[in-house]
């Protein structure tokens, strides 16, 4: 579904990603891990079009999206969340999700001005769908509240809901559990699996090992911009390179 070919990224003389090649298969929950500064978020930015690779190609569902702008990549079916939550703080939860659904709306400016039936129909149908998505994250009860009023963990969930609302084929999730307490993390794991069961492919960056080991079917490990291991969570965990670079003292069970 997603294929990265020899991605290189330099930031002012510093090589952040070094000929990275990777494939994410359809239907997976794919984990991307590695120590801080390994280039994980940079890779997400390149995939979603916010940043351009110095060299290499990004192929998504057979299309070369390397040089497309972010909005076109989103239109190809790529959704994402951010490490530092970027919800629309002054909008309500419902409006956040509806903004996420932007590309699903089709009515014209004329339909807007004249209140044509097509507008009413779309607005109604998608509003219902938006509430459904919020319900998935147990947020439907707060749909009219301002997004800023949510707790940190809820804001992360709202961002996930908004990304899901774009109805992506591939969902990039950047550190979904960061700043969550253990109970919230547990709940989030369930929700991620549930989303995946609905047919969404997920690629996630996460530092919480329990989380990664618990939900991911395949894990790639980055260190200093290089791919050092790829495999099932179990395989990766036992890879000596990984243990040395990242997991450190953690045991291989």
């Amino acid at each position: 579904m997603l294929r990265l070919e020899n991605i290189i990224k330099d930031f002012g003389g510093l090589r952040v990603l070094d000929s990275l090649s990777l494939q994410v298969g359809e239907g997976l929950i794919f984990g991307l891990i590695g120590p801080n500064g390994a280039g994980k978020t940079t890779l997400f930015n390149i995939i979603s079009g916010l940043s351009r690779p110095t060299a290499g190609r990004v192929i998504f569902n057979g299309t070369d999206i390397t040089h497309l702008p972010p909005s076109s990549i989103a239109a190809c079916g790529m959704g994402r969340t951010f490490q530092n939550i970027r919800i629309f703080k002054e909008l309500s939860l419902l409006e956040n999700v509806l903004a996420g659904m932007h590309r699903l709306f089709t009515y014209s400016p004329v339909a807007m001005l004249l209140n044509l039936p097509v507008q009413k129909r779309e607005e109604k149908a998608l509003r219902e769908k938006a509430l459904e998505i919020l319900e998935l994250f147990h947020l439907a009860g707060k749909a009219k509240r301002q997004a800023e009023s949510l707790s940190y963990g809820e804001q992360r969930k709202l961002e996930l809901a908004r990304a899901l609302a774009t109805s992506p084929k591939l969902l990039l999730v950047d550190e979904p559990a960061a700043g969550m307490n253990p109970a919230e993390t547990e709940e989030l794991m369930g929700e991620i699996v549930q989303i995946n069961n609905r047919g969404y492919t997920i690629c996630l960056i996460e530092h919480d090992m329990k989380f990664v080991m618990g939900v991911c079917r395949q894990v790639a490990v980055l260190n200093f911009g290089e791919l050092i291991a790829l495999g099932s969570p179990q395989e990766v965990k036992c890879n000596p390179l990984v243990i040395e670079a990242y997991l450190g003292k953690e045991e291989c069970k």
């Binding site: 916010l50 989103a74 970027r86 309500s92 509806l98 932007h102 590309r103 001005l113 301002q146």
Partner: protein
């Protein structure tokens, strides 16, 4: 009683006309602020619209509606040319690009013979009636009401809140920003055309940076959370100077003070939208 009303209207009808024109200008800058962009060129767009509409009337004897339409179209077209390269970039580039634009417009008006050079245009026929202004204002309010809860309005708000996140949602941020800027220029141009047909006289000096700051102050004072804010702000700031005549040349200082105080202490302006908590 009727006599009182008549004399009241005679004294204040110009003020009322001005309130409506300023309201339109406040809306013209609001639509760019609504997607997080600052245009300091709306006074210049008003000027282009005023000159274009006046020239259509004076030279071509065009019907009033056509003059106004032309007065809206030319600034919209100019906005398109400025907007496309500028609005690809994020943040403050539009403000910087439009700041110097008023100067260019002034220089062009001063040096063209058709615009009357430094003398300006005289004797524009008084065609603007109250109902013209009310009609245009009504259409604008209808437009902004419809925009509010539509996919287009949401896209603009999303861009204002976080441009990067909006782009990742599939919103074509650049084209929305350009549209907002172009529509704003159109509104300012029509307002200029209407204004030209009741002040009779156009001078190249009227559409400079000071007036751009006036327009900005209308919107900032009222608040940019909803389009009612700029309307309230422009009404207050149009009526207030009449009452504060004693300030004389310090009137602009009041604008400056309002901008600083509102931005620092009242960031949402005086009209705020409350969401349930």
């Amino acid at each position: 009683m009727t006599e009182f009303l008549m004399s009241f209207w005679q004294t204040y009808n110009t003020l009322f006309y001005t309130v409506l024109v300023h309201g339109m200008l406040a809306l013209s800058i609001y639509i760019t602020l609504a997607c997080g962009q600052l245009s300091l060129g709306n006074a210049a767009f008003m000027g282009i619209g005023a000159y274009t509409a006046a020239l259509f009337t004076l030279k071509l004897n065009a019907p009033f509606g056509l003059s106004l339409l032309a007065g809206g179209m030319l600034p919209a077209f100019v906005a398109l040319i400025i907007g496309v390269p500028t609005l690809r970039l994020s943040g403050v580039y539009l403000a910087m690009a439009t700041l110097g634009f008023g100067e260019v417009v002034r220089v062009v008006f001063l040096n063209m013979s058709i615009t009357g050079g430094s003398v300006g245009l005289n004797g524009v026929p008084p065609k603007t009636e109250l109902w013209h202004l009310l009609l245009v204002m009504g259409v604008l309010i209808y437009f902004f009401l419809k925009l509010k809860n539509s996919r287009f309005g949401r896209a603009l708000e999303a861009i204002r809140e976080d441009e990067v996140a909006a782009a990742v949602m599939g919103i074509k941020t650049t084209s929305f920003k350009v549209w907002a800027f172009v529509i704003g220029a159109f509104i300012a141009g029509v307002a200029g055309g209407l204004n030209a047909h009741f002040t009779f006289f156009l001078s190249p000096r009227e559409y400079g940076f000071d007036f751009a700051v006036d327009i900005l102050t209308f919107a900032i004072l009222g608040g940019t959370g909803t389009f009612w804010g700029p309307l309230v702000g422009s009404t207050i700031l149009t009526i207030l100077p009449e009452m504060l005549r004693f300030l004389g040349s310090y009137r602009l200082a009041l604008n400056g003070l309002i901008l600083v105080l509102v931005v620092v202490y009242l960031p949402n302006g005086i009209i705020t939208v409350k969401k349930k908590d």
